[in-house]
Symmetry: C2
């Protein structure tokens, strides 16, 4: 009697030498990389993206993937804030394993780090210092816009702005992405969506398993997490309940035993599905080494949700040399081999903004005026900058309302000169009520070169 | 006229495509590794070693290299403690660049991480959580023994023990190495040698450059750093001034503006030069997954400073089944394919220790007795464990005084049961006045297998 044994029938991990070689190869490749010198031609955007728990919120990761295209380093990270971070060390290990499995299952080429820390900025500092290995180290921090800043405590805003400042200190380029999509609501922000919502997930999974309900890609899923916080019990009610399929209520404790109201909607594969006939509007306002130009260029290359998008470049010019500025920018872009459709110079950037803009601005800062957070004297001292941002906003609203994405140079937070709140207001000015906006600021390192 | 251009004459970085490929290869290899499953056969000791600044103290790194042999991951790390860790972010970047360059120059295959944090344990927690990338992640924490524990504040001891506990919580194996060499003095410890001593280095370099003095490998370099601390002005005077070549005095500020007296000696290439006819004594007292056995096995393989060493294995046995225990251990070792010279079972481990040992123990704890740190009731409650460690110590002194290295299973810190000070005393008992000792404790993960 012949006995046939089919090796491939059994899904068993035999501990093959191939696995051992994979480790050896990875290690050797890493050491070899460490011995190469850096050069502008070999610059790659390597992104550290603060996504929080991936199974709940992955649009930032989707967006980052369009830039890294599986051929640059992408690290997705979650900061779990706790008064006693030491006690969360095994939770963090579990979370990391879970999200790494999620990445593999959903075919993302990215690594995941979870970290417990006493505060958001503390956790991000750790990530900036330690994440990556050797030369395979991130050089860009990508984080979501703090949409709930108006209802946040000043400390939270300070944390957020400190985080951005730390990234600059650590020689990172910084990107802040404001989704402005109806499918991600007001409370979508780095800080709020951190808590582990396993219960909600399990509930969802159970329902899905039981009814074998397949949600179509374009459908929305709504999670409403009920929490209590005195200051905004009714303010933050969901106003745009786009097709809620199921609602899951859950109470969970947060840092310092405070509870918050948080609603968010996830559109599956947001920023993963390709957009046809897209336009990317680039506002290259300051020279930051070229990152503001490189990222939109990469976004319109293949393997991006904006593949084949038109690139329109806007730059600042003195009124007199408007045409000259446009020509020289066009020449520069050609030298950089960046294809573009249009080059426009923004005139009169230092002019006084329209009365309508000024009124709108006054209205938006009115809740803070007179408080210690925002003094009249500071507003006066920074008036020229505020006006400049207002003028830019006017120009963006007039020209880029129909763009698929706006990429704009981000102002730098200047500690001790400009308060965290005013900086947050500026970021809001440059992003509110527009298509998705990516604020970008390189760390002055050249990322573009004339030479092939 | 012919013009000859020799490409290789110029040491210019052209930004070659080879460099770009190195990055791509490393990234691809890393992602491929991430998709392999883990298996005991593919277990590799991947070490995170707390070395501090490498140019001052590299014997721990040398020792770790003997285990990883350039074919496993080795990450050397420095924790820079500061009350305002955010402000040190650029210092840390510089330090990392400097030490990475040092590693390359001295031909170590290792990565370096520097991190600023509010405390040692905080910094180590960050390293445990974030260091490494994907599956290329350390699984063993190696740290130096806190030689100055007797003169340290209780808080410092608590920090040290917490650090060890955190590593266990994070599912790491833990190794504590006590050098016991005359060439590294009393104050050699993780905490003390962190401060950046660039000035001392520069001074040294200047002298070396000026006189072109080449220090031979076996020579010692002495740095005496003058600091002031009231509690031990004269206690800690160097007693073994082994061949001091030059003395550099320097004052520098420390955390909380306290100053300490710290003397240390560096023997260049300590634990890098091969030892002939070496013996490694292994005390495998508890089953920890096999790490206590795997590390000495690796240490006697080629590419180690103890290459070809004899392995003597000691284990605990009930008196009656002494021979049986020895035979079964020998069988087990053969199954694991670990070559050994001798297997000895330790008899009567629970017996009362000699009066001499007890007296010595009483003397060593006398400074703490009666204080809040060490109560009589705790000593009584933990008496059986203390006796056990004393008995082990007696056996080690009797049998292993001439060994080149002792590897012994480390007790686990049990918070809320055993105080940090008593735990420190135990570690001291198992390591004082002996050849170099490596305390090892695996995280229960099997690292040895019968199957080839």
């Amino acid at each position: 009697m012949k006995c046939k044994f089919n090796f491939h029938e059994y899904n068993v991990n035999w501990g093959s030498s191939g696995q051992a070689h994979a480790l050896r190869n990875a290690l050797n490749a890493m050491y070899r990389l460490d011995n190469t010198e850096e050069h502008v031609k070999n610059y790659r955007p390597q992104i550290l993206v603060l996504t929080g728990n991936l199974s709940e919120r992955n649009h930032l990761l989707n967006f980052a993937t369009s830039i890294t295209k599986d051929s640059c380093l992408l690290i997705s990270a979650e900061v779990i804030v706790s008064d006693n971070p030491d006690s969360l060390i095994s939770t963090v290990t579990d979370e990391e394993a879970k999200c790494t499995a999620w990445l593999a299952k959903n075919k993302y080429r990215a690594f995941f780090h979870a970290v417990s820390s006493a505060s958001l900025s503390d956790g991000v500092r750790q990530l900036l210092q330690i994440s990556g290995l050797g030369k395979l180290k991130p050089n860009i921090l990508l984080l979501g816009f703090k949409n709930n800043w108006k209802t946040s405590k000043l400390d939270d805003i300070a944390e957020y702005v400190t985080t951005i400042g730390l990234a600059f200190d650590a020689d990172f380029g910084v990107c802040v992405f404001r989704c402005n999509s109806e499918n991600v609501t007001d409370s979508e922000n780095v800080d709020e969506c951190k808590p582990l919502m396993d219960q909600a997930n399990q509930e969802e999974q159970r329902q899905t398993n039981n009814t074998e309900l397949k949600t179509s890609i374009n459908d929305c899923q709504t999670f409403t997490i009920e929490m209590v916080e005195d200051e905004f019990k009714s303010e933050n009610e969901p106003s745009n309940n786009a097709k809620p399929k199921k609602t899951i209520c859950q109470n969970f404790s947060r840092k310092n035993k405070t509870f918050k109201k948080c609603n968010f909607y996830l559109k599956k594969d947001l920023f993963r599905q390709k957009v046809k006939h897209a336009t990317i509007d680039v506002y290259w306002l300051f020279d930051d080494g070229g990152l503001t130009l490189l990222l939109p260029y990469l976004l319109q290359l293949p393997k991006s949700y904006l593949e084949g998008a038109k690139l329109r470049v806007f730059t600042i010019a003195n009124n007199k040399e408007l045409e000259h500025q446009e020509t020289s920018m066009a020449t520069l872009l050609s030298k950089f081999r960046v294809g573009y459709t249009e080059v426009t110079a923004i005139p009169n950037i230092t002019k006084k903004p329209d009365q309508k803009s000024l009124d709108e601005f006054q209205e938006s800062i009115s809740p803070f005026l007179g408080t210690a957070a925002l003094s009249e004297s500071e507003l006066l001292a920074e008036r020229s900058r505020t006006w400049r941002h207002l003028r830019t906003r006017e120009f963006m609203l007039a020209n880029s309302s129909d763009a698929s994405l706006i990429v704009i140079t981000m102002p730098i937070p200047r500690r001790r000169v400009c308060s965290d709140l005013l900086y947050m207001i500026w970021l809001d000015l440059l992003t509110r009520g527009m298509p998705p906006v990516l604020l970008v600021r390189g760390n002055q390192r050249s990322v573009l070169t004339f030479y092939t």
